[in-house]
Symmetry: C2
Amino acid sequence: MSKSEISPNKPYDTVPSDERFHLSNRLLFRFFKTANCMHTAGTKWTSELKLTSQQWSVIGALARPGHEEGVSVNELSEFLLVSRQNVNGLLLRLEHHGISQRVPDPRDGRAKLVQLTPQGWVIWKQLINRISEFYDVALVNFTTEELVQFQHFIDKLQRNLGTI
Amino acid sequence: MSKSEISPNKPYDTVPSDERFHLSNRLLFRFFKTANCMHTAGTKWTSELKLTSQQWSVIGALARPGHEEGVSVNELSEFLLVSRQNVNGLLLRLEHHGISQRVPDPRDGRAKLVQLTPQGWVIWKQLINRISEFYDVALVNFTTEELVQFQHFIDKLQRNLGTI
DNA sequence: TATTTAATGTCAATATATTTACATATTTTT
DNA sequence: AAAAATATGTAAATATATTGACATTAAATA
């Protein structure tokens, strides 16, 4: 049952209103909205620590095993998939709260190593437990199999977007 | 195989490092990043129209069948799941480009009806085709069944977040 | 009818995110 | 060693998003 049979007067380049379009539209629109809700809910979840969900990501990236001695701004930018300039702004705010610091990279005079301060490590330990609770709420009623499947879809979408 | 059997010295409230946590962490982290990439890729996709992907949402909401005569800012805010203030900013930019306008609501002196201008309708017709191409790229290699399943997961996550 | 309550839109402050542009430091090349 | 190319970090302009505050209009209540 092709589209042209249904609406012969509406060619593809005028009104792409077939099922596939509506399905895609609904899916990606909700993906958008859900990501936004996740950010808002996450930020509310750790409001007592004065940390936004983006800041979770940065702190988590700095606390990764094997990266305790420091990470360059560029590495952070690539890991988080956001611009260097955005990372810089995030770091300025974290530094203002005494959570992270930048020290010169002994092996590259151009670069600086971003690392958690001792206070940052304390906050990380509180944060990771709070985040874990958040995950439990956000993903309650998902089986392990569903989580795997869900992530598989996200990764596929992400790869497709990477081609743009 | 409970966690306490694996690492008896690491109680839940210190290092929640079990499989479930890592799976959740990876999934939501990638969800975040993918949404961000989607915004960036989408905005690049319609850069020749000078429209960002958030503006797609607003224009699309104003072009919905049955809402051509206008929608209140509050309705827009609820539909898009973003704050009234954010909608206001988006509308200011759209109005600056002659795409939308606000007219007094004859049935409610407090409210204003947001509607597309004639030029806005012209742009919408160009936009919807470009968006359709974007969807095709973003969701290539997804079967219809997978799209349905994917959206089911997103909706479930969204509902869980709504409880926070 | 007068007062309170609620809905609506907007302003201001702040955080997140992008692109463009540029200064500085390090490599690489000549 | 000097010049060109590259990597890195920042600054500025703009868009998106939030919360808090507030003015105005409408609706509910006294």
